[in-house]
Amino acid sequence: MPSPDASLFKPELVFFDLAAPSAPELFDALYERLAPMGYVRESWPSAIKEREASYPTGLLTPGGPIAIPHVDPEHIERPYIAVVKPPRPVTFEFMAGMGDPVAAELVINLGITRDGGQVQVLQALMDLFGDAESVADIMAQTTGEGMVSAIVSRFGG
């Protein structure tokens, strides 16, 4: 399998200040950041809320509770991956109803297209979240540059 495309991660797509009491409100706040940068279309907020309600993406990983919300490519303007570390955890329903809702400490929004690269990235992320030490390093980051580096430096290994 080819190495994941680390260029999808960018410091300006790492957000530490998106405080939201719920997942839908987090999506609204994220849209306000992503839309001006030209990553998502106007249809994105309603599409991602609907998708998350029907097919939730909260996960309990060995590294902690996270969520990986994403929508169909037609709502994406150009591929990206946004990393949100909210000031307070945000509740997401567990993927496939396999467990109780999770208080996500990190939300990774996959702005995916049909080019195939998302599989490598998602697999690399899941491998990373299987390792408690990597996750401790990621969760300790306070800058966009630090976060991108903490994640992509562990890719392709």
Binding site: M1, R51, S54, Y55, T57, L59, L60, T61, P62, I68, H70, V71, D72, P73, F94, M95, A96, G97, M98, L110, I112, R114, Q118, V119, L122, Q123, M126, D127, F129, G130
Partner: protein, 94 residues
């Protein structure tokens, strides 16, 4: 004959493909011959007719008449070994 295994998620392009790749690799390592295919949830009804096993990354509220497995285990790796053993038990004699 190779077992046919279907993996479904909401879009068929992110989590289900990732799980399909992982399962394919794990089965190969264990010497099991299988075709693992990712589909979106809306195409599931069509593909499941010819499938031997279904790995779900979405909620399952229907009986498809074939064994169903927990895709989240393969995604996160938590409970993966147990789920893989069950999957192999279900498809190895096909």
């Amino acid at each position: 004959m190779a077992a046919k295994i279907i993996v479904a998620c909401g879009s068929g392009i992110a989590t289900s493909q990732t799980v399909a790749n992982k399962v394919s690799k794990l089965l190969k390592e264990r010497g099991i011959d299988a075709d693992v295919e990712a589909v979106d949830i809306h195409s599931l009804k069509h593909y499941i007719k010819s499938a031997d096993a279904y790995i779900a990354v979405v909620k399952v509220d229907e009986d498809y008449g074939i064994p169903v497995f927990n895709g989240v285990a393969f995604l996160t790796g938590m409970g993966q070994d147990e789920e893989l053993d069950k999957l192999i038990d279900a498809v190895k004699d096909l």
